[in-house]
Amino acid sequence: MNTPGTPELLGLLALLAPAAAALVLGVVPWLRRSGGAAAVVAIAGSTVALVAAVAVLAQRAGGGPDVLWTVSWLEAGGRGLARVGVRLDGVSVPMLAVVTFVALAVQVYSVAYMHAETARSYGRYFAYHALFLFSMNLLVLAPNLLQAFAGWELVGVTSYLLIGFHFDRPSAARAAVKAFWMTKLADMGFLFALLLLYTAGGSFEWTASLRPAVAGAVTALLFIAVVGKSAQFPLHIWLPDAMEGPTPVSALLHAATMVAAGVYLVVRADPLFAQAPATREVMLFLGAGTAAFAALLALVQTDIKRMLAFSTCSQLGFMVAALGAGSAFAGFFHLGTHAFFKALLFLAAGSVIHAVHSNELSQMGGLRRRMPLTTVVFAIGALSLAGIPGFAGFASKDTVIGAVEGQGGGVPYFLLLGTAFVTALYMGRALLRAFFGPPCAAAAHAHEPPLSMTAPLVLLAIPSVLAGLLGGWLARSVGAEYHLHLAPTPVLAAALSLAGLLLAVALFRQGRPAPLAAFLERADRASLVDRSWALLYRQVLIRVADVSRWVDRYLVDGLMNGIGWSTLETGSAVRPVQTGRMRDYVFAVMVGALLLAWIGGFR
């Protein structure tokens, strides 16, 4: 073990401050149950993590080198299974900054948003948040795939805990189990990828170089995990249901950070994926397909959070498509900007829900007069998401589409361009439905949330506009090239986004339905993917589980019980031999002696 220097210490601090907060809240029940104090502890941990992350970022911006600090883990025979620690480089440092920043903003926002909870569950909420931030940082700073897997599973657990936060509500409990089940199914891919990687290459390194067949298998297995975590078709169905969690949770876990972990994993493991062109091809098509598919479904959602969830699926599809096109930078760039504007949209939606006490778009409307600040920040988020020039989303989305175009264009390219149009359409719809048009019943009493909720909104709105300017810096940081130039594709994408927005204004001001609405609503209600999984679950998995239970109960347990039973029975059967009469024992000794003498006589 080597002594850590300053950047390593900062990295460790970003990792361990939330861990300490989670630990304290976990083992000191009276502190957790006190509510407000628990929030202070969690937010203090996140603040330390953010300060450390920013310090590392500043150090790197000043020309600091890559830093790797690890200790050996699970030593056996003088050799550790793997090394764990922190890796601070051009990929992890920006991600760490984004994660800690959004996490802190969301936690501060939650202080007022969750005030109606009892002190007990208020504290529990913040304990989960601290645990989440630790898990996410563990994943982000991972020096190899094994530590990443640990973080990956931990964020899955915290996601489960937070979706099911209101576990007394059956729908929330179901949604939590569903999310856990779906992502866990996909995580098996990660586990098998790890086993294969270690068997074939002898290490868990991000940069292992493998035989083509092995690289193909490892990346394909990893991609299964990515499909689950980043809610890509056909495993996307857990994400809309995950909206049962409190809105700040949706903002942090199910929009900005945790679901983006899949994308981050691929960016990290880019050297592996570069060895597997076939996997990338699949990613390109699946990502573009998911982007288009989810965007269309977002168009007909009536629940504002579900609409944003489908939008998240769609945007993650953009990122996956970029990664499939071989541009880790484009995917990573979009991940960063998306984290800001999607967290912003969710938090703004949260303050609307806070005001009107409903998730339904039909219960909203005309809120712009009562909630001007929320309207402005929601509009900023919406325009950024729609990819309107001048906002962060435009720069990153163009990078993605440009990367796909550079890969040969074709079907994914047109799918993504079409999705850019639909994205603007559905965001325009949400904006107009919620904030413009005839005021709803609740609009009269609606009011802006307190400062502790509006401040995070404003803080997230700034990077939602400006983060696009960081593209060049981020490209240098991850070792890619980036320049915004006047090419047909960005112009086309911008024009499509604007057209979508204009169409939205034209259609939804009069309250007309979206194009294809009837068909899409029917598709949404039919939810074929959902039903297929349910069918698989009920008809196949439960049956397999029943068979396993039978085998376990009657064959495995039967074998064990049989051994015990037969031992007892044999004991009972030979029991009468012990008569307790002295002479019988003496007789046995004599017979034995004679027998021995007889045998001895033969030798």
Binding site: T579, G580, M582, V586, M590
Partner: protein, 98 residues
């Protein structure tokens, strides 16, 4: 052939001893039978010592000492048996029955 006859005597004594141990019901009779078996061994020792040489007589002295102690212990057990069951019939003690 002196040795042969002496060994046959020893074997006879031993067999009578075993027979007694196996058939007598009273503890004192069983003890007597055990003494018989021990003396069968003593006869064999002496026979070998006088006809073939070797330290047999010494071992007989040891054997006698041990037998005496054994009888002391055995009689104590008989006393206990009597105190407990009111009789010295060995079959009364069957606590070790399985």
């Amino acid at each position: 052939m002196m040795l042969r006859e002496l060994l046959l005597l020893a074997a006879l004594l031993f067999s009578i001893g075993i027979y007694g141990v196996l058939t007598r019901r009273h503890a004192v009779a069983v003890l007597l039978s055990i003494e018989l078996m021990a003396n069968a061994a003593n006869v064999a020792f002496v026979a070998f010592a006088t006809l073939r040489g070797g330290p047999g007589e010494v071992l007989v002295l040891f054997s006698l000492a041990i037998t005496v102690s054994e009888v002391a212990v055995g009689l104590a057990l008989v006393m206990l048996l009597h105190r407990r069951y009111g009789d010295t019939v060995l079959d009364l003690a069957q606590e070790a029955k399985g």
